[in-house]
């Protein structure tokens, strides 16, 4: 095997289109992290390490035949559930939430695992019952979704539970959840809202109101949103220039390497920069849709569609939160925010996408 062949073998299961989109976003991540951490290279190096790990995971998953992945669905899900129950019983409390489980070697966050495991499990389930799909199957799939989501919501981790809920819902939706059920769910939720509201305690209502009106809590959670909006808005058309964002560099912007990193980027690069970043996301999501549309099996279609749409929701919730159209729920900007776990999960997802794309191509040829 010569070098050329080796290279080909290595690249065989990578999708260059999707990969270039991811590279673009990761580049944005490194640039912005450098600025957001006040010009210190430590964060950038750490993120480079995270990227390396993430890429390795992506490569491994992408080279994995799909039936291997399907075989993993049930064990992963069961393990994830077990860990979630473990967290609920013996989890480490950090920042008022019980999310981590000490497994001796390292602290792990099982909810991250579930981001992949839940849609995988549901897609696998639907694939198994493809021939004889009834509403019963939808109901069971919904249960498979609701159980982990409920556990994660209890931790409490609103951001992750929203993302998992969304990923699972997309599987249901793409699997053909009947419209009348979707509509009746929406109607039921809307109709029960006033009663639920009535049943809430005052302080609970206050919390919900604060989610929607940050100025009510200008020094607490609202402070994040207000400073985020100021950073974004003061960027203007062209931005304040790289490393010159005042909101960023004078500490006004909280969580600027993680949840609010979009504000750092758009403060320094302006509307033009925001447009470029959104375009990168549209590119990646668009490629995801393309791969989904061309997926050959029921399982891969559901899996690819769920991964793509979840990635979109990830993006939308984060940017919507930073720009003040959504409440602050603690969702990082995918691929750009600092953090190894979320990056790893995302790269795994894209690995699955690439696997779906390339193995199918091989089957065809």
């Amino acid at each position: 095997m010569n070098l050329r062949q080796l290279k080909q073998r290595f690249l065989l299961h990578l999708d260059p289109v999707l990969l270039s989109g991811l590279a673009g976003l990761l580049l944005v991540s490194l640039l912005t992290l450098y600025s957001a951490s006040g010009g210190s290279g430590a964060r950038v190096l750490a993120q480079l390490g995270n990227i390396a790990v993430g890429f390795a995971a992506l490569w491994i998953i992408a080279n994995m035949p799909l039936h291997w992945l399907m075989r993993l669905a049930l064990p992963m899900y069961v393990l994830g559930m077990a860990l979630l129950v473990g967290v609920a019983l013996f989890g480490e409390i950090s920042h008022g939430a019980r999310r981590w489980l000490d497994v001796g070697v390292a602290n792990i966050q099982p909810s991250e695992l579930m981001k992949i495991a839940v849609p995988l499990m549901m897609a696998w389930y639907f694939e198994r019952h493809e021939a004889t799909l009834t509403w019963r199957n939808h109901l069971i799939a919904a249960l498979l979704l609701v159980m982990p989501v409920a556990l994660i919501l209890r931790q409490p981790d609103l951001g992750t539970s929203i993302l998992i809920m969304a990923s699972g819902f997309f599987v249901l939706f793409l699997a053909g959840l009947p419209w009348r059920i979707i509509v009746s769910l929406i109607v039921t939720a809307a109709a029960s809202a006033p009663f639920l509201w009535h049943a809430l305690h005052d302080y609970q209502r206050q919390r919900i109101l604060m989610l929607f009106d940050p100025s009510q809590d200008a020094l607490g959670k609202g402070y994040h949103t207000i400073q985020g909006m100021i950073a974004v808005g003061s960027g203007g058309l062209m931005g304040k220039g790289y490393l010159a964002g005042t909101q960023t560099h004078l500490d006004f912007l909280p969580e600027r390497t993680t949840d609010f990193i979009f504000a750092v980027w758009s403060e320094e690069f302006g509307f033009i920069g925001s447009l470029l970043l959104l375009a990168l996301y549209v590119f990646v999501i668009g490629r995801g849709f393309f791969i989904t549309a061309n997926a050959s099996t029921y399982f891969t279609r559901l899996m690819a569609g769920s991964i793509t749409l979840t990635f979109f929701i990830y993006t939308f919730v984060n940017i919507g939160m930073v720009t003040g159209i959504l409440p602050v729920v603690g969702v990082p900007l995918p691929l750009v925010s600092y953090g190894g776990t979320s990056l790893l999960t995302l790269m795994l997802g894209f690995g699955v996408l690439m696997s779906i794309h390339t193995h199918q191509r091989l089957v065809k040829t």
Partner: protein
Amino acid sequence: MIQKVELKNNQREIHFFRQRLFMGLIFAGLLMLLLLARVFYLQVLRHDHFDTLAESNRIYVVPIIPNRGVITDRNGVVLARNYAGYTLEVTPDNIRDLDHTITEIGKLVEIKPKDLRRFKKLLAERRSLQTLPIRTRLTDEEVARFAAQRYRFPGVELKARLFREYPNIEMTSHLLGYIGRINQQELDELDKNELLANYMGSEYIGKTGIEQHYEKELHGVTGFEQIEVDAGGRAVRMVSRTPPQSGRNLMLTIDAGLQEVAVQAFGDYRGALIAIDPASGEVLAFVSKPGYDPNLFIDGIDTESWDALNNSPDVPLNNRALRGQYPMGSTIKPFMALAGLHFDTRSPDFSISDPGYYTLQGSSHQYRDWKVGGHGRVDMFKSVVVSCDTYYYGLATELGIDRMHDYLDQFGFGRRTGIDLEGEVQGLLPSTAWKMKRHKQIWYPGDTVSAGIGQGYQLATPLQMAHVTATLANGGVAYRPHLVKEVQHNAPSVPQPLFDLKIPAQHADLIRRAMVAVTHPGGTAAGSFYSAAYPVAGKTGTAQVIAIKQGEKYDENKISEYNRDHAWFIAFAPADKPRIALAVLAENGGHGSSTAAPIARKVLDYYLLGKRPQPLKRARMSDEAEGD
């Protein structure tokens, strides 16, 4: 067959799936557009708004308070100055248990009951988030002690700043006034005049006197430092600095030495003295006795000291020179004589035989001369020298009140002099029209008679009397009395005459000679000016405080001190080439000759001869006309 069905199903499946996927695509696309619109709204449409917010986030404007201008006398003697010191300031809104905090502070730094009372008063009047001084002028030891324990007192600050000080205390209190903490009313006034920005950070403002009138010059222009701060409020760097412009120093026309001599000359008497340079209107001495300690007012006076000042029967807070209105008594006579000459009612040679009283035609009421039995033959010259009342009763009656009013009005009686101080009152120069308007009464001939010797409705301030005396000394050329000789950075202004009465030289000369004779043997002030080394033109006066009934005699010993007559003396010297004109009023001093004139002598001796006051040698009583 089976194959076919499955294939068909699969195709329908894919078709159905793609429908769903397309919906997802539309969903994602719409929300992406929403994000794009939102970002466009924030970054393009509302950019200015958020840019302002970002700027105000990061830029903190710190005012730099300018140093207040120093006030000196005409020779550079400092009358109001600034010195650096420490004060302990409290922000009550940031302190949970104020009483406890104050008790704790008291263990480190002495807090006198006086400080506490003042603090309580300020506390009641404070604006929100204002800082209030609990102690001023800390000693170095106290500063060190508090600084070491500072961390225990959030909301309490040690501030280094400049303090205003008036080293001459009572001597210059009515002249300089004082500065004090800015109150709400003054804030509103500043706001109205769009000066609020210049007072950002300023805590003091001129409240009375020179400090008030020249507030604009003395305050200076506030500077600003724009400091970039981070979210924790820590200064990161200075963006820009506009240095403050110090307040301008004022050089007064006052001669501090003269002022001191004048204050001392009063002894225990209450009253006022104004000395003016007749050639320019420069006020050389501005005394109102008693004074008070203006330093008490700077950081808010405590209630006890305030009550003591406010309720004192001597009314030390009243600026008598500027706001005290007194009947001018016989000091009006030289001006009456000029009116007589002006209207040709009297010639210099015309003389009367004074029986010691005057009666109006068809009346038996006797208007008494101060000298029982009268002065015998009295012409104009003698009428001034001996201060003959009878002469002026007749003159006034023949002139009539309205002609008197018109002539004296030109001199400046009954008008504000326009001195550079706030709150000057105008005195009173009556006329028939005035009486009708004010009292709804016609003018009676008897009113005119007593007006002739300055004992009717007329009222004058000591400042006014000094001003008209200076004008008289100048032969009718008047200058506006003023207290500031030079404002730093301003070109010194050459005083321009206000008006010229063009008093005929022989008239002016006659009156001057007569007034000089007043200070010589036979004159009413001879005793006080015994062996003066310069010619003095003077006139005594006595202003009645209570009316003496017909047929009764004024007995100084029988009436209470505060009802005794006020003593006046006006003078200018040297008489032939006047360098100083003055008016002295000694409240309840009795006769002008015995209390007011000696004060004038000391002042003139100092100013013209550089002589520090020493006990005056008394002339023999027999030589002296005792009258007013």
